[in-house]
């Protein structure tokens, strides 16, 4: 299939995404995780219909990288803030615990499973696999909480705290990726540096680019000029990171974060850039879905282990925060939703580490999104109803309905 048709298809999706994020559409339309677009990509991809073949996936890899990079930039710009308010330090810490706990439990479980499973990756590959699955499975998508707020009118302390956690936990997989990508650097042998230096370069490059973006935008900050600067700097950072084999998501996250920290135009910058998240996200999800390649059947057990470990970790975290708040101890199931960010982590792993490691990480992220979508939103809604933060509409009784004038 010609690349141009795929490109136009992606642009149509992007257009649809921009309509969903518009003011005139129903808030919360679609699934919270947007996993349906990844499934669409998988169905169109080489393993099912073959409409998007392997050559096209390779052709569109840079487009996918730009899209997920932009997503990381937006997350960085928005980091530490939930809508217009600052995330409370306590919630920020708990969000980090949520991400770290899940990442460590999933990574640890996969590590142990790999030791027992014949034919599973060994050595550095095992580290990358365990770490990659930990990173891809750790987040709770912000969109699930937003979905509960916008579609069901969830409102209250618990809802707000959950939204804060979901905003904060993204930094865990991003730091994890910086470390993992530095363990197996993509630079040639002539540029051998310790892993810690590569991690520092990853974070430093992003932070520096953000500072330079602020300097470039300057005081005047004209809209057309700012778009050019943001777009140009992010592309340059992304290209350099990918060239050096560093985590481009981490670089762009820190670029967004440092721009938000240094710029006096932080709020309008966020207002300008954040609405672009959705139009960029849908094509990225389709491309990520098309990229999914399930490994040999014996390795599917690793995916099952990762998904199970994630459920247990989220349940544990949910119980930890539910008890003091007198909420349902099953609150953790409501935090199982993952989405575009997990798929982005998986996709970048699959591009950076082609083969069993990358395939397993992306496939696990895909399965996690589907499982999360099946369980998460309903459980979250239930937990918020029990906490009294979603008011269920009263069902009118028969006698009330038969009263004259009651229909008005």
């Amino acid at each position: 299939m010609k690349a141009i048709f795929v490109l136009v298809g992606l642009l149509v999706l992007s257009y649809a995404g921009s309509l969903f994020s518009g003011r005139r559409t129903i808030h919360g339309a679609g699934l919270p995780s947007s996993v349906e677009y990844a499934v669409l990509g998988f169905v169109l991809g080489p393993h099912m219909l073959g409409i998007i073949g392997r050559d096209l996936i390779t052709t569109f890899e840079p487009v996918a990288q730009i899209a997920v990079g932009w997503l990381a930039l937006v997350i960085g710009l928005d980091f530490g803030r939930n809508a217009d308010s600052r995330v409370a330090y306590k919630n920020m810490a708990l969000g980090l615990v949520n991400g770290a706990l899940t990442g460590v439990v999933v990574g640890g479980a996969v590590w142990l499973a790999c030791r027992r499973l014949p034919g599973a990756p060994t050595g550095v590959e095992r580290v990358l696999l365990a770490g990659g699955l930990g990173a891809a499975c750790s987040e709770t998508t912000r969109h699930a909480i937003r979905w509960a707020m916008e579609r069901h009118g969830a409102k209250g302390k618990l809802t707000s705290a959950l939204a804060d956690f979901a905003h904060a936990d993204d930094v865990v997989p991003l730091l994890g990726m910086a470390v993992l990508f530095s363990i197996a650097p993509g630079a040639p042998a002539s540029v051998r540096l310790p892993a810690a230096v590569w991690v520092a370069i990853t974070i430093g490059l992003g932070t520096l680019l953000g500072a330079l973006t602020t300097l470039h935008i300057g005081r005047e900050a004209r809209v057309d000029h700012t778009w050019g600067v943001m777009f140009g700097t992010s592309m340059l950072g992304l290209g350099i990171a990918a060239r050096a084999g560093l985590s481009l998501l981490t670089v762009l996250f820190f670029m967004g974060w440092s721009t938000a920290v240094f710029s006096r135009h932080r709020a309008p910058l966020r207002a300008m850039v954040v609405p672009v998240e959705r139009p960029v996200l849908l094509p990225a999800l389709v491309l990520a879905g098309a990229h999914v390649d399930f490994p040999a059947p014996r390795l599917l057990l690793i995916i099952a282990v990762a998904v199970t470990a994630r459920i247990l970790a989220k349940l544990a975290f949910g119980a930890m925060i539910a008890l003091p708040a007198h909420a349902s101890p099953w609150l953790g199931t409501g935090l199982l939703s993952s989405g575009a960010f997990s798929m982005s982590v998986g996709l970048i792993f699959a591009i950076r580490f082609p083969g069993p490691v990358g395939d397993l990480v992306l496939a696990s992220a895909f399965v996690t999104c589907i499982v999360g979508e099946a369980v998460g939103p309903l459980a979250l809604r239930r937990a918020l109803v029990l906490a009294g933060e979603i008011v269920e509409p009263a069902v009118p009784s028969e006698s009330a309905a038969s009263q004259p004038g009651s229909a008005s």
């Binding site: 630079a187 935008i217 005047e220 140009g232």
Partner: protein, 454 residues
Amino acid sequence: MSGAAHAAPKTLRTQAIGLFLLAFFFALLFVTTRAIPHVDGGVGAVAAVGFLLLAGTLASELVEGIGLPHLSAYIAVGVIAGPHALNLIDHAVVDRISPVNTLALALIALAGGAELKLDLVLRGLKSLAWATLVQSAVVLTLMTVTFVALSRYIPFTHGLGHAGLLGVALLWATLAVSRSPSACLGILAQLRPRGPLTDFSLTFVMTSDVVVVVLMAGVLAITKPLIDPGAAFSLRALGDLGHELLGSVALGTTLGLVLAGYLRAVGRNLVVVFLALGFGLSELLHYLRFEPLLTFLTAGFLVQNLTNQGQKLLVAIEETGSVVYVIFFATAGAHLDVPLLRSLWPMALALSTTRALYSWGAARLASRLAQDPPVLRTWAVASLVSQAGLTLGLTVLIEREFPGLGGPFRALATATVALNEVAGPILFKLALDRTGETGQAPSGRASTPDLSSA
């Protein structure tokens, strides 16, 4: 591409920061490409696009201080970073980012059509008609003669007989008649001028597109039997041309109506719409063998003159174009074959100088015949020197028609276009500055709001 007329004046501090950032980005990409020279996939292209955009924007802000146009800065950045200088962007990457040109040309043609207001065309119809007639006739005739006269210094013509030489000279002269709509619109977008020179340049350069396409089809039909003795004169090419022109105008009309309807009913997400048009529709037009430039020009013209959505379209194109144009011209700079220019520069300089002189003479004559105001008599030639994508596109067509001739012919044409591409925008900016037309356009169009008002 930022509008200089609306940007705040650059202080010394701003210039210093710009210079620092420019040096830093060059150094960053230099270190990266030297440390990690080989890269698979499209990541090199991603970094290159980002770099060209940043460095082009920064350089354009710096050259403003010395009176040079932004386009010159974009081209210079491309040349310096390109494969023939620092090689921060190699040949493979330049080829990978070339599809941006398709988008840029679509936007340029749409904007060109939308800038052509019917009352403007009718007001300047007499000047336009004389200029088109005289420029085509004078430049075509004199360049043919000049090329024949200089042919002893042009190695690839040595084996040709008289008829063959005349055929090649005619092809060269047709190339000389072509102008650069992209350079014209690029300068107008930067300077936001208003006045007789602006109006004339806009209408002439845009309509000359169509004239050159028709002229080239006719000249190809005539020169085919001259260069290739086995070929017979055929009017089939003219028939194909008729089909191409009518089809392009018809499709452009439909596109214009659809665009106007969209702008009226929805009017948002225009970036995505332009991307789909620039990439998707251009591909379809190539498949149908229609002329994309004419199609988009017609669409823009229709939106401007038959609906009330022209202003909206222009503003939207300018917002998108601010990013796309920088990459387009910087890529053109990276494409510039410096070693080729070095080897062919004496002949290229002779041909481009004579072309500029004939264009100047023809412009003076046409202005006199049309009784134009003095400003046009002096400066009408200023926008006619630039050549870029359209001319290079025509050389590809010639290479396809005459494979035995094409390579060296194209090399000389590329070298000549390179000189015109560098000198033309500088001359046009100088003319607009001297005539006082720079910055005279009303600020309503494409004013650049700051972030706080966005």
